[in-house]
């Protein structure tokens, strides 16, 4: 709560809105206690007194009534009606939305079509129609304003509820024996409450305005009772001769609506989880590079050479060392596997290569990434962008995240081709079809007209590979490209990548957590743990003679087909958090061979020319 208020007041406009609104609210609350003139006392002799006249601070209106008093009483009434209307609209609308969203199907269909019909009428027309039907009067105006705002709440809340109702915790609640009513009240409502609050804070201002509008037209509060709208309405005829009678209530309406809306926007921003974490900063186009210490010298290894790379995330006071002194290279025609558990830094290493780590909070704090000897970390944004796709391309786990849902896959591929080469449309199209054929998509001529959602996961991933291949890159970085796919499809994608590197000399960095995949595709493999490479070497050597205890244990955890029913080996404990690493070996708390020496000082990645491990008691002698 305190964090929420802090966040809210960091937003200056919202703070201003809060101050103005509180002042108005306090005034409205203490109005009955103030020594004010009777707001309805008519004194025709004193009509249209200017502001600051004796006894009438804000002057008087056409019947000689004290404007200050009328203003404060009117404000009180307007606020009460607006807030009450908002409460009604929010409760009825949210109830409708939750019921429609939770039950779905026919119930949802019937309810939401009804709501759509309400929304089809112009706003104010609908309000007028309702008042016309019920007759003028403040209560009826209130009902009308609440009614026209119900659809807004119903739609908003239904949207959120539909998302929640599909979540597994709702099913779990049903299996725990809860009935529908209880699920709605105790499972759904707490989760949609913040949305309701946000929707209310952004609409209550409008509702006050709408009520004032109806009163202005004479359909709301009836004389002598006056809200801000009717005060304004009565002053209309004297707009030229006695402008203060209109300006005074006008300014008040303006202040109320402005302050509520500013505060409402602030509340929405502060409650929005997406804005909460990253504040309101826009990500930079390229990862921020702030290298401390010397840039490692080029050492002529591989086509793509990652040297002592360090990437960190700076979140508040914490520093997450996601990638720590990672060195890795890949030659043309070679496939290098990077294996590790989630959070071990595999993906951040991959994204750092082309500056794709989101900044803030990501910062590259050391090392170099050399492509053909050029240091990519020192490259300008333009030269980096020219290299993205043309020299180094990516394939991600979820192809849907890289494909635009609303464009045909063929058009997206053609656009990718044309982004780097100015070729005519027809030629690009021919190339796109050829690429589809190369990734073994059947019927490429008709398939390029598909939308992403019309393809299966395996086919979409092939489109992802075709996109990556669009500009004949030399290096492909594939980040768990087959994890979400079925085994049969995975086998096809893997053999496709294998063919591509053999036929075209493609260099592949393949990130995965599956030893079977690494064994089949990769020549070399690097094992990562807590942001560091703990072992590296030829795939066969590592699979047969792992040197690092972590590699060995990790392999033992993974069941292999053909072993029958059995108990699996597990590694006790959890991987460490990379903002709070123990000194010495990060694996020590889970390692059965750990000694005191393991828990102090830096442990180096050592071994032979080809096989290295970061361990002082390796499982195999490396010499």
């Amino acid at each position: 709560m305190i964090a929420f208020l802090k966040l809210l007041f960091r937003n200056r406009l919202a703070a201003m809105g809060a101050v103005v609104l509180s002042a108005i609210l306090i005034l409205a609350l203490i109005t009955p206690l103030l020594p004010l003139a009777d707001p309805d006392a008519i004194a025709t002799g004193d009509r249209f007194k200017r502001p600051f006249t004796e006894g009438h601070l804000l002057g008087t209106d056409h019947l000689g009534r004290d404007l200050l008093s009328r203003l404060l009483w009117g404000t009180r009434l307007s606020l009460a009606v607006g807030i009450f209307a908002a409460l009604i609209a929010a409760s009825v609308g949210s109830a409708i939305g939750i019921i429609a969203g939770y039950f779905g199907g026919r119930t949802d269909n019937v309810i939401m079509r009804g709501v759509d019909m309400l929304m089809a009428f112009p706003y104010i027309l609908l309000a007028l129609a309702i008042v016309a039907a019920l007759g003028p009067g403040l209560t009826n105006a209130l009902i009308a304003v609440a009614a026209v705002n119900i659809p807004f709440f119903a739609r908003n809340i239904r949207g959120v509820t539909v998302g929640l109702a599909g979540r597994e915790f709702i099913d779990a609640a049903r299996l725990a024996g809860m009935g529908h009513g209880r699920i709605i009240l105790t499972e759904l409502l707490p989760n949609v409450a913040s949305t309701i609050v946000i929707a209310m804070s952004t609409t209550v201002g409008w509702m006050i305005l709408e009520t004032a509008g109806l009163s202005f037209l004479g359909l709301g509060s009836q004389p002598p009772q006056a809200d801000l709208g009717s005060i304004l309405g009565e002053a209309r005829s004297a707009l030229i001769t006695a402008p203060h009678t209109s300006i005074v209530p006008g300014v008040m309406i303006f202040l109320i609506v402005m302050s509520i809306n500013l505060l409402g926007d602030g509340v929405r921003d502060a409650l929005d989880p997406r804005l909460r974490s990253g504040a309101l900063t826009r990500p930079r186009a390229v990862t921020l590079v702030e290298r401390r210490g010397n840039v490692p010298r080029a050492d002529q290894k591989g086509l793509l050479n990652i040297q002592e790379l360090e990437t960190q995330f700076h979140v508040g006071p914490r520093i997450y060392r996601a990638v720590n002194q990672v060195s890795l290279h890949v030659n043309p025609g070679e496939a290098v596997g990077v294996i590790g558990e989630s959070g071990s830094g595999k993906s951040v290493t991959a994204l750092s290569v082309m500056g794709l780590v989101a900044s803030p909070p990501g910062v590259i704090t050391g090392g170099a990434v050399r492509y053909d000897s050029e240091d990519l970390l020192a490259a300008s944004y333009d030269s980096l962008r020219a290299k993205r796709g043309r020299n180094v391309a990516y394939i991600f786990q979820d192809p849907l995240s890289t494909l635009h849902p609303l464009y045909r896959v063929g058009d997206q591929l053609i656009e990718a081709i044309q982004a780097h080469n100015r070729v005519p449309e027809a030629e690009a199209r021919a190339k796109a079809i050829e690429l589809f054929r190369a990734v073994r998509i059947p019927n490429p001529e008709s398939r390029i007209r598909n939308f992403p959602h019309e393809m299966s996961g395996g086919m979409r991933q092939r489109v992802g590979i075709a996109m990556a291949m669009a500009n004949d890159p030399d290096v492909i970085i594939a980040d768990e490209p087959t994890t979400a796919l079925d085994v049969t499809v995975q086998a096809q994608i893997l053999s496709l990548l294998d063919d591509l590197r053999r036929e075209r000399g493609l260099a592949i960095i393949f990130i995965t957590h599956d030893f079977g995949v690494v064994a089949q595709l990769c020549d070399r493999v690097a094992v990562m743990y807590a942001g560091r490479i703990v072992e590296e070497g030829p795939t066969e050597t590592i699979l047969e003679h792992p040197a690092h205890p972590y590699t060995k244990k990790l392999m033992a955890c993974v069941p292999e087909l053909g072993g029958g029913k059995r108990r699996l080996a597990a590694i006790p404990g959890l991987p460490p958090q990379v903002h709070d690493l123990p000194p010495g070996c990060a694996f020590a708390p889970r390692c059965h061979k750990a000694t005191d020496a393991c828990r102090e000082g830096e442990i180096l990645l050592e071994g032979t020319e080809t096989h290295t491990a970061r361990c002082i008691h390796p499982e195999e002698e490396l010499a």
């Binding site: 299996l175 699979l543 053909g562």
Partner: protein
């Protein structure tokens, strides 16, 4: 003794209908199937995405009303789709451990729900029972007053298992219970599940797309393709001597250390269209052994070898 008996169970989803229009078509997510699970057994269920695994599981726990068929638990039929009636007998552990816990509730509130709603236990009784279960799943009691987002995937999944146990069910359905977890944690959870099974006399249905995991935990395995059971058999035999060409394709596709990389299947490998199902054997379009007879009628499950059953006209022989 049979823990679960399923007879002719099927589910058809209408698609495309509107408020006043009749549904345009129907997807037969699960075609009529019958099988039995013995008490204390673990039945593994494998198949590709969209083959009907989750639909079957959701019918078994009463979250979905079956279109046809009967479900019997320990001889008692369950014929109204009411999760509360099912809850005491059969529980579900979900794939995504975090999404299966309500973010606004403490772990204690989550754990108490089945005890209160299904068994009407009092406060003291509940606390004692929760303490017992937490000890069984190796969770510390101080976790009870925290919220779900404070836990790692492995811990959250153990909480999910604890909640299922709280209902004291006879059968637990595990729908991809470890696929969201890291490999080093996956083994911890699988071993825990094996221990609990003995401790609480449970019967498991274990759903997964990871063949090696299924093989490692199951007594018997049921292979689904396109909503149909295409093969059933003992875990150690199904992937070693697959009878159905589809099972063989699965076994050949699994990446295995030491086996050279080759695509076991080069053709268009999309599943048949659920809205426009092919006649006869649904696998015929992908099957290397297909003959014209295969599309003439749907092959029935029949015994092959000593313990296996497969639905194929030209099964593999060993």
């Amino acid at each position: 003794m049979t823990a679960l008996k399923v007879d002719d169970l099927s589910k058809t989803f209408p698609v495309g209908g509107g408020l006043f229009r009749a549904p345009k078509a129907a997807v037969r997510a699960v075609r009529p199937m019958s099988f039995e699970v013995a008490k204390g057994e673990t039945l593994g269920i494998v198949g590709e995405s969209g083959c009907g695994k989750s639909t079957l599981a959701r019918m078994l726990v009463g979250l979905l009303e079956p279109t046809t068929g009967r479900i019997e638990i320990e001889g008692k039929p369950l014929d109204n789709a009411d999760p509360a009636a099912f809850g005491k007998l059969i529980q579900y552990v979900f794939q995504d451990p975090v999404s299966s816990l309500n973010p606004r509730k403490t772990i204690r509130q989550i754990m108490e729900a089945p005890l209160k709603r299904l068994y009407g236990m009092g406060r003291a009784e509940r606390a004692a029972r929760i303490r017992e279960i937490f000890a069984s799943v190796n969770l510390r009691e101080e976790f009870l007053d925290r919220y779900p987002h404070e836990f790692s995937g492995g811990q959250a999944q153990r909480i999910g298992v604890a909640r299922a146990l709280a209902a004291a069910p006879r059968i637990i359905i595990l729908d991809e219970p470890v696929s969201a977890l890291d490999v080093s944690v996956q083994a911890q959870v699988l071993n825990l599940l094996a221990d609990l099974k003995g401790e609480f006399n449970l019967t498991y249905l274990f759903i997964s797309h990871d063949l090696a995991v299924v093989e490692a935990v199951s007594d018997r395995i049921l292979v689904l393709y396109f909503g149909t059971v295409v093969e059933v058999g003992p875990a150690e035999e199904v992937f070693k001597t697959p009878r159905h060409p589809y099972t063989k394709l699965l076994a050949d596709s699994a990446p295995v250390v030491g086996r050279p990389l080759k695509a076991p299947e080069q053709k268009d490998s999309e599943l048949p269209d659920p809205l426009n199902p092919p006649p006869g054997c649904a696998f015929a379009g992908r099957c290397p052994r297909a003959t014209p007879e295969c599309v003439a009628e749907v092959p029935d499950l029949r015994p092959l070898g000593e313990h296996q059953l497969a639905a194929c006209i030209h099964p593999h022989e060993y």
